[in-house]
Amino acid sequence: MGKTLSEKVWDEHVVRSTTGEPDLLFIDLHLVHEVTSPQAFDGLRLAGRQVRRPDLTLATEDHNVPTVDWDKPIADPVSRTQVETLRKNTEEFGVRLHPLGDIEQGIVHVVGPQLGLTQPGMTIVCGDSHTSTHGAFGAIAFGIGTSEVEHVLATQTLPQSPLKTMAVTVNGSLPEGVSAKDLILTIIAKTGTGGGQGYIVEYRGQAIRELSMEARMTVCNMSIEWGAKAGMIAPDQTTFDYIQGRPNAPQGADWDAAVAHWKTLVTDDDAVFDREIEVDASEITPFVTWGTNPGQGVQLGASVPSPSDFADESARAAAEKALTYMGLEAGTPMRDIKVDTVFLGSCTNGRIEDLRAAAEVIRGHHVAADTRLLVVPGSARVRLQAEDEGLDVVFKDAGAEWRGAGCSMCLGMNPDILGPGERSASTSNRNFEGRQGKGARTHLVSPQVAAATAVRGTLSSPADLVPAAV
């Protein structure tokens, strides 16, 4: 019997396998940030241990860095301590760090791919659940806890029990104007937030093949939101073209050897998945969430559901609770929901392509009165690239705030937060209660919907806009 993509990559990383025990997997790349690493480094120190492979480790500052005045000392003492601790730890243990102000600084899941460090067939971990992003390259990538961070720092390995495999096949092509975000939100709404529990998921099929690398990252990023351990997409020419020429990409003969190997990283025809799901891409339309988990979503053209629409008792109770928190009435057309803030950014949708897509929609328009648009590039490189292309001017002309790189309003850990009861349309990945600030209400949307929403002040798609006079 053949093997699936994930089984191939897994098998290539087994350092030790004994019956009755988890496999010991070698880790090719360990990404580190300021929030989940301090105790791991302190644990090493207490035990008198070293970082085994600093050459396979990379640190950046992202979760609680400010996105304005980033050249000044960080005002919040807790954030400042975490960032300063990361600087001390990386220096002491010889780990490469891209600190605030550095040209390679940014969200850890934007920085890895951008440097060419994220490559097919790798194992990649980070103390952050959205590490699944890197699976877009055909890597096994997943988030780990702080003691696992310490484990990987000390040993460059991680004990892991094998996972079940699932295939999500997306047939046909996405309609014009429908994005990867709409696709993944649709999949999550279909399966529920626990649908992927215990699985490594491989996204495949025509619509997936047609996605750019950045769009594939958006899909894999949100694998964790339906409970999957990791999401993967088999590498192909799109993948190779994206990697080639990046600072850490293989070169010359190494490149040829690497590509030859990468081409073997596809699921064999006779391989069997533990579970398979099929999705018809042509039916997908702009999709937004109404509730407080990423599975509580509907088509933008639909209305806020009523708890009684749910047959399952616990889903009904969850819907009721979510509607109360979100301050929404069942039956309200989604398009009538007014938002206070639009957030464009995060490791889900803070890449150059996302900014281009949003800029395209907003060009020549103006952000609605009483609405605020915050544009936060995923990395310093993305910011500079966008400025080179004049996207910053498009956003600023439209009345948006153009910020420095970081996680920003994706989570309320830095100064970019919403007030109680404030409502956002956000291109990030989590709409949990309090995620963007205490009492804050979040609607997850694509970059295109975010831009159109900023212009109209209510949840909108680009098709709702009167063409701008440009």
Binding site: V15, G43, A47, R96, S147, T155, N248, P250, W255
Partner: protein, 197 residues
């Protein structure tokens, strides 16, 4: 991690059940960047009460916590174990533990000894009648005993966790015992794999 064979220390009766990890250490204490110093957050909500058991001088220097059922339920925070250890506890005795808490304890070297509810009651009585009384916990024999011998019983712990504690092996120590396998693997990695340095 230090090897754990047997421990004798002052017993502290915490006469409460359902002590979840938020009560062991509230979230506001989690901002620290070290693995030590969490003792000030331990049972923070109760520490202002002069009657609270940890505030009674007779239990000063206690290292064996004797508590009601369902200790350590709730959030998975490893800090709950660290806070108990930072305070000086080596053993927690209860009739039922939260699963994740028990797992985290074993990993960090805190012995979570599961006993019958009646043993907890007997230990409480002993500790109240004999403040500062000591309890010996023998991991090899899986037994607990009070100094005066009035309570003697066995406790449950799974074989794997017991072995790790006896050997003083944390997860990292176990993996590093396979260092040869890791080195062999590293020697065969393709040279084109990326490096950060």
């Amino acid at each position: 991690m230090d090897k754990f064979t047997t421990h004798t220390g002052i017993g502290v009766p915490l006469k409460r059940s359902n002590v979840d990890t938020d009560q062991i250490i509230p979230a506001v204490y989690l901002k620290r960047v070290t693995r030590s110093g969490f003792e000030d957050g331990l049972f923070a909500a109760w520490r202002n009460d002069p009657e609270f058991v940890l505030n009674q001088p007779r239990y000063d220097g206690g290292s064996v916590l004797v508590t009601g059922p369902d200790f350590g339920t709730g959030s998975s925070r490893e800090h709950a174990v660290w806070a108990l250890q930072n305070y000086g506890f080596k053993v927690v005795i209860s009739s039922r533990f939260g699963d994740i808490f028990r797992g985290n304890s074993g990993k960090a070297g805190l012995l979570a000894a599961q006993v019958d509810e009646k043993v907890v009651q007997a230990l409480w009585t002993y500790l109240e009648d004999n403040p500062g009384g000591r309890i010996t916990v023998d991991l090899e024999q899986r037994t607990i005993a009070t100094d005066d011998g009035s309570v003697e019983d066995s406790f449950d712990i799974d074989d794997y966790t017991r072995w790790r504690l006896l050997e003083g092996l944390d997860d990292i120590g176990i993996t590093l015992s396979h260092d040869d396998d890791i080195a062999t693997y590293e020697a065969t990695r393709p040279s084109w794999k990326p490096a950060t340095l």
